[in-house]
Symmetry: C2
Subunit: 362 residues, 2 copies
Amino acid sequence: MRTLKVDLGSRSYPIYIGENLLAQSGLLAAHISGKQIIVISNETIAPLYMDKLLASLENLNAHKIILSDGERYKTLTTIESIFDQLLEMRCARDITIIALGGGAVGDISGFAAACYQRGVDFIQVPTTLLSQVDSSVGGKTGVNHPLGKNMIGAFYQPQCVLVDISTLHTLPSRELSAGLAEVIKYGLIAKKPFFNWLENNIDRILEFDSDAIEYAVEQSCLCKAEVVASDEHEKNGRRALLNLGHTFGHAIETGMGYGNWLHGEAVGCGMVIAAQFSAKLGWLSDKDVSKISRLVSTAKLPIQLPKELTVDKMVELMAIDKKVKDGKLHLVLLKDIGEAVLTSKFDHDLLYNTLNELHNNT
Amino acid sequence: MRTLKVDLGSRSYPIYIGENLLAQSGLLAAHISGKQIIVISNETIAPLYMDKLLASLENLNAHKIILSDGERYKTLTTIESIFDQLLEMRCARDITIIALGGGAVGDISGFAAACYQRGVDFIQVPTTLLSQVDSSVGGKTGVNHPLGKNMIGAFYQPQCVLVDISTLHTLPSRELSAGLAEVIKYGLIAKKPFFNWLENNIDRILEFDSDAIEYAVEQSCLCKAEVVASDEHEKNGRRALLNLGHTFGHAIETGMGYGNWLHGEAVGCGMVIAAQFSAKLGWLSDKDVSKISRLVSTAKLPIQLPKELTVDKMVELMAIDKKVKDGKLHLVLLKDIGEAVLTSKFDHDLLYNTLNELHNNT
């Protein structure tokens, strides 16, 4: 087992990464102070891992809440139904909420924990690669709104994150690929050697090689933890670098309707667009763009804009993105592999034309 | 003008208290960093003070959201409608939300600010005595649930609080009294000399004497700011002392249906019950109980349990109160005027019997 720490002063917490961690009862129990536990999961994950998790919490009073599976249930309505159930069970302020599942379960459960009685303890047990390397670390929680993704939420840190990579054996390969988008992202924004390692080892990960996966998850969580520790609430621009590919990606996700493109697929495509636009600005070589496209494509992620989404619609959706500040669109772009920058200093016509060109080439 | 400071490290903020502060443009502008402002108010307060506030923000891009008036609209549904409007107006993360109104407007607006795009800047402009001395200071925000008051919310500190006591001239006298419940509370929990001052000056306040009101508001905010600074998230028991009378009060409010008893009326009655139960435990003299009852009654607040609410129902509602910890009901009781304690060490039969006795005497 590898243990990392997210360094946030009084809100610091550990990330445990390893195989078969779900069965280790002591790990979670050390982070639970009250007596009552609510495990929130969904109809897909619960049958696979709920019993194992509950067994490891044997002496504690644990109840479960099962959500429908899918990003389209990541809404205030679902949050409201969780509050109803918590209050019907008379849950007091000293409960611990455990999220068992992927990113949607974690985001929903974390936001419910942040708001229930103004905040109760919370633990992340992510079961998808995407949530293990991204959403479970760093405290971003929330739900979607018809007019935008993750528009409603809170920064709320967990007591700990338990990453059992054994859960990836039941993950559909399409979702493994979606998770790899974020893994590649860490290489692109801050870790060139890791990017190079990925080029050589992406196939091992796609074949579920445990050692390769554990290393990739650790490197990803390390990068995420460093960035989050330096900018918890996305104030100084550092944390915003984690959004490489996301402004384009969110527009694709929203434009195509939540759930049609997986988040990681949209981000994978978004990173390729960011690389291509960075090259247009003269910041990145065509060779690097090719390396990035090739790695994203090898990870079985889309690298082309969806034909169905017009460039006008996409630009409109990007304008409502959270990265808009003082009315200006900010993008994370690449100066090099391993060096990302947040900037609003680019020609908007050039952006529009680049998107149009990419759209016509699909 | 008097200026107090709520000392919370990087989240510290000032409270400005005085007459005609709404018209002073520089005061608020100094706390606004973005360009777009959303003033949230309700249909009762907006016609009285919205124009004055907007005029003081003359060079800024300000829009308004008008809510229905009343505690019964303090729900997730209202929060959702605010999110809809903010997104339709394409509000970005750098907006400032200003709450102009009483406690409900402040709690709703603050919670919306806490959750919109995971948190935007927020300013409190309370216009009722209750909100000026209590809810606008300390960062508690949230909404009610049919199964309990303030069950959903966040700790979220404002950039500043602007208390214009001139707004009290349009406050119905019943609401002025409701606010006095919290003013009296500060004397009871930590400021015996202030309690004594109130005994001598309560009539001046009821007659809207500006000097008396300004002093009472200042002393109340000082006490609240001190307590909040020592226990921001209600973790060490100190902040819980502010709940004197509230566990009984919330049960009365919920049991009678939100809005039938004003919050302050329920708290006034709740403080008298807390004093009477403290006396039963031998902690407080009968003379002090009489002094407390007399002051609460002089402030035109109820001091008797509502006949319609059975003791069984009341005890049931108290069991779901946030002050329940490890399954035990905790109450704030009095060792003396000016000395409150949080405790679960009391005989529950004695509590039940005391409530029964008080109920039979009504």
